[in-house]
Symmetry: C2
Subunit: 355 residues, 2 copies
């Protein structure tokens, strides 16, 4: 029996995608060769890469708008550095909403002056700062759209005339946004897009080429664009599985349709957290709650063992909170079925009856 997988990432993927991926490892496209044994320059794999790139732009509504999609290696952690290498000439502004913003700031500091426009560190990042001002004429403004660890999510992005850069690792393809407001979006694949090992970078070409420093080839977006995301051997399997997952999303109606499901899942779970006296949410402002990662605690910690046994018996996986927050975290990425959330809510209600 398949588990109800609430893992924060790497995380649940569509079952049909897993089946196709498993088959491709044995025999890809009836070539009598494994996907992972063929040249990345072969017609069959080039088609995979091109389809992945084009699906990413199509789903975000960014086709023919001056954007390029790249599937690179190194995770969002490498993008913390690459963004600064490519865009930071003098100073940049960052919004600090948690661990990942913090890491992005730390890496970018090596390349120029950073202005932290606001931070929610004062309350262990349990809210999204608002009403901050972004200095005019910085090289770019950087934010993190969703904070996996703390369970917060930016609902309204600031208006700015600066270049807008966003780490969307944990909520890309989950909700409708005007993605054309962003100049650079990056996202590790291992939440809504595929397995760990590839990172999507969507960049508006016109913002590139403006810094004076030399950029090493592997960190230079223009080098990767010039080689159609194949400057060096890409992570073949992760890119293939990402392509399958993006196709799965397109087939079900794209972002507008998955957003409805995601909102429904979040509504069911947060309603139970608010209703059930045994639980409390971690995030202080309800409007900042993430639809991807719900963080919550028991109001009575003596029930911990009972609750842990209950959800494990129900076939639930990956519900422990991150060590820096504690408690529980239910990650409800695109591929998590609605019924898994219902199973979790049932367990929460069962605990209430037992307590």
């Amino acid at each position: 029996m398949k588990k109800h997988n609430f893992s924060a990432g790497p995380c649940v993927l569509p079952q049909s995608v897993l089946q196709q991926a498993s088959q491709a490892v044995l025999n890809f496209n009836n070539l009598d060769l494994s996907l992972i044994e063929i040249s990345h320059r072969s017609t069959d794999f080039v088609a995979v890469m091109e389809k992945a790139r084009s699906l990413a732009l199509e789903l975000l509504g960014l086709q023919n708008k001056g954007y390029q999609a790249l599937f690179l290696q190194g995770g969002a952690s490498t993008q913390f550095l690459a963004v600064a290498y490519n865009l930071l000439e003098k100073k940049a502004a960052y919004l600090n909403t948690g661990t990942w913003s913090n890491k992005a700031i730390k890496e970018a500091k090596l390349f120029g002056e950073l202005i932290e426009v606001a931070s929610s560190k004062d309350h262990n990042f349990n809210y999204i700062p608002k009403n901050y001002s972004i200095p005019e004429k910085v090289d770019y403004f950087h934010c993190t759209s969703n904070n996996t660890i703390f369970g917060t999510q930016i609902k309204e992005f600031p208006s700015t005339n600066n270049v807008l850069v966003c780490d969307m690792s944990s909520d890309i393809f989950s909700r409708q946004l005007d993605f054309s407001k962003f100049d650079l979006i990056y996202a590790g694949a291992q939440k809504n897009m595929g397995p760990a090992g590839t990172t999507l970078v969507v960049v508006k070409e016109e913002i590139l080429g403006k810094v004076s420093r030399d950029i090493p080839s592997m960190l230079d977006y223009r080098v990767h664009i010039g080689k159609d995301s194949m400057f060096n051997t890409p992570a073949v399997f992760p890119v293939y599985v990402s392509m399958l997952t993006l196709q799965w999303l397109k087939d079900m109606g794209g972002i507008p349709e998955i957003e409805k499901v995601n909102n429904k899942k979040a509504e069911i779970l947060y309603n139970e957290i608010d209703r059930n006296p045994l639980f409390e949410g971690f995030v202080s402002n309800k409007e900042d709650r993430s639809a991807m990662n719900a963080t919550f605690n028991l109001t009575n910690n003596t029930l911990q063992k009972t609750f842990d046994n209950l959800w494990k018996e129900a076939g639930i996986n990956g519900l422990n909170g991150h060590r820096s927050v504690g408690g529980y975290r239910a990650s409800m990425y695109n591929a998590l079925p609605l019924e898994s959330v219902q199973v979790l809510v049932d367990v929460m209600q069962e605990l209430e009856k037992k307590a």
Copy 2:
């Protein structure tokens, strides 16, 4: 019917490894979860990473000798840059044996003065330079052990008191060497080790921490060592398949045993290239011929179509030479069965009978 896969990389992998990998994508370790859906911090995946790291050191004979093994993202192309970032304070010496050495030199030049101790560019890299001298007191000496594109391989490594760095992407784990002579070895997985998407770095810890520049976290070997190769989410599937492939190699007797098979394969093919009047080898000095990649041409180009049809009919894949050399290239990595080489030799003899 499975193809005879002479692809230069990504390339043939052991069939038993592909079967295990395919199964793990559906259900890993009987967890009722896919390998690519579980947390990289889970006990099951941490065990995979630790086993991969320890197998790499064990097979190279480098356990308990001050070395660390890391599985990083970004390919050897990222190591061109990371090596310089971590080791190049003033100047380094490079041996130029082809495309990959060239690229390594290009990236390192951003970080200090480079001395090219010798180059075989004068004859399109069809030999390995010898009798060059390495300046004393450079930060390190860098060489490429095997040149996939040109089909040359270093058989005798120079003696040097400098730090010795080697890109072994295309022949690591294929032959016995005193690996303890090297201070840093790196290798993209997609030849003898696994699928594209992970890169092995084996580094002697004592050489690190000696440059004065700030190193971004993702490029800092000490950061990755400090986090047991899990500073950020690793490329889960490529690391897993690499671990399986290293285990396969250990089970068959390790490098001493695979070297015998590799030498036999190379001997059979090169003997035919030398014997058959329709073929000639690309590499000028026979002692420089690679046991991994045999590059050769037809002596009569009008036979090209006939030959191409013959090998394709025999179920051979990936025999076309790289565009910068032309002709043919038979890559005979660890997982290529001896019988595949025999099939190729049969085809070459069939062409001779027809011509």
